[in-house]
């Protein structure tokens, strides 16, 4: 019996090769400091995915992308309305780390995108036993704000966010 980790043997996928787009500027958080050279260079799901794909899972030394917790398809963006929706899939049905992953996603998006963007985060339907309860907590901004003032939780979130710097290039 393995003690400790919720999911001791996660399935790990290859990190999908990043297709470079023509005239892609060097990696900067949105909005780019240089004016867009292409009029159709709008904020899209890939921009959002790029900002979160390398977040490290709280329990395993792999990114959320590698563990298939997130994919580009699980993100929708409406730049005009200022909305981002992310759905993520915890690795196991009884994942106590789901709220931590949700917190990491929120913090990263707050850092990368304009503050007026409204973000909705949900677990993918059927992926979690207490799905409704987790979704409710993930989207209660008062609970999120208080959680981020908790130094222990904040430290865990920071570790998941900043160790991703090992992966970005």
């Amino acid at each position: 019996m393995t003690l400790g980790l919720i999911n001791a043997n996660p399935v790990v996928h290859e990190r999908r090769e990043r297709l470079s787009r023509a005239d892609d500027p060097p990696h900067h958080p949105y909005p780019h400091p240089h004016p867009h050279s292409h009029p159709d260079d709008v904020l899209d799901a890939l921009d959002v995915f790029d900002s979160v794909r390398d977040i490290r899972d709280p329990e395993h030394p792999y990114s959320l992308e590698q563990l298939s917790v997130l994919s580009e398809e699980s993100i929708t963006v409406d730049e005009k309305l200022g909305r981002i929706q992310i759905t993520f899939t915890p690795t196991v049905q009884h994942c106590s780390m789901a709220t931590v992953i949700g917190l990491c996603l929120r913090v990263k998006l707050m850092q990368c995108f304009p503050p007026h963007f409204k973000v909705d985060i949900k677990v993918s339907p059927g992926s979690l036993a207490n799905e409704e309860a987790v979704n409710k907590q993930l989207n209660d901004k008062e609970r999120v704000a208080a959680a981020l003032e908790n130094p222990n939780l904040r430290q865990l979130v920071d570790e998941c966010l900043y160790s991703s710097e090992l992966y970005s290039y």
Partner: protein
């Protein structure tokens, strides 16, 4: 001026900037003349851990006269003035509630109420001046009795909610308390006449035409026979107690019934609703919009209903967390936002 039949607009009078983080709560001083002769005084509390006091000067502009800082160690979530206007209570995520007293031009922290296990979400002062109430993520509501010498005794720890309690509000006339919660319910609390024990006299949940998600706020009308609640379910609900109101009889307040649901006006969580002395309900939500509602005066045989008077889209750049009418000037409204600003508005009739 009868507003019900006219067209109105909401004019932005001033934008108050200064807080370094989102503004969560607002409170107008009910008796500002007791605090150095100001004609209007507004307290605001923030994620920047401070409370700011804004005073209206001779030019009718608000300036920040006081910043209360270095007391709370986390977000200040809610603030409330005592009925005499000389005391201010601040409730914080640091699990404490601080009491400030106006002394010779300044505010001094004269007491700290401790006991909640985690974040305090709301504080409210009874109109009798006898009680304070606080509520918390620890699911409890605490009632404190004000004693001479700036002492505060906890007289009740009320359990009953199954989740985080978002707000508490005393009835404007009698010592009856209402609490609203993440458990989707509204609870009414009163003291048992004989035993002086506080207990829950009524619960309004989904079965009693209540909300289907977290209830964020509650506010009474000035006569105390109606209350409005706002929720994550995107609706506002109006509740009525048809009992005759008397100063001493609290039993009439155990029978609130659903009167009306206002839906389809906000696209995201409605964080706050407040009732003006004239009967206008203001609401502020996560869709950045501010709405005003009034009672539809029509056929007296039908159930009372409410209609939208005005919707101000993009009233702020981000979520609106609190809306409060000035008790001394019933056409003036303040709103607080995640964008870190407070706006002062005037409701005007337009021809």
């Amino acid at each position: 001026m009868e507003l019900l039949d006219s067209n109105v607009d909401l004019k932005e009078l001033q934008k108050l900037q200064g807080h370094a983080d989102r503004v969560w709560g607002l409170a107008w001083n009910p008796a500002p003349h007791n605090c150095g002769g100001a004609s209007a005084m507004l307290a605001s509390c923030s994620g920047d851990k401070t409370l700011r006091i804004w005073q209206m000067g001779p030019t009718h502009r608000f300036d920040c006269s006081t910043i209360l800082e270095d007391t709370h160690t986390r977000t200040v979530r809610s603030c409330a003035w005592s009925p005499c206007g000389k005391f201010l209570a601040t409730a914080s995520f640091d699990s404490t509630t601080a009491i400030w007293k106006y002394v010779g031009g300044d505010f001094e922290c004269v007491a700290t109420l401790e006991g909640h296990e985690n974040e305090v979400k709301s504080v409210t002062w009874s109109s009798s001046g006898t009680f304070l109430a606080t509520c918390s993520r620890d699911k409890t509501v605490w009632i404190w009795e004000v004693q001479p010498g700036d002492e505060y005794d906890c007289v009740a720890v009320l359990q009953g909610h199954s989740q985080d309690v978002k707000m508490v509000q005393w009835h404007p006339l009698v010592d009856v308390l209402v609490s609203v919660s993440y458990d989707n319910s509204i609870k009414v609390w009163a003291e048992d006449g004989d035993s002086d024990d506080w207990h829950c006299v009524q619960t309004l949940n989904e079965g009693s035409s209540g909300h289907a998600s977290t209830v964020w706020s509650v506010a009474f009308n000035s006569s105390g026979d109606r209350m409005v609640t706002s929720s994550d379910d995107l609706t506002l609900k109006i509740w009525d107690t048809s009992s005759a109101i008397s100063q001493t009889d609290t039993e009439g307040f155990a029978s609130w019934r659903h009167l009306c649901t206002l839906s389809g006006y906000h696209g995201r969580t409605i964080f706050s609703a407040h009732w003006s002395s004239e009967g206008i309900i203001a609401s502020g939500a996560g869709d950045d919009a501010l709405c005003l509602f009034v009672e539809e005066k029509g056929n007296s045989i039908e159930e009372p209903s409410y209609r939208l008077l005005l919707k101000k889209e993009k009233a702020h750049d981000m979520d609106i967390n609190s809306v409060r009418w000035n008790p001394k000037d019933q056409r003036i409204l303040a709103s607080a936002s995640d964008d870190g600003t407070i706006k002062i508005w005037e409701v005007r009739e337009i021809s």
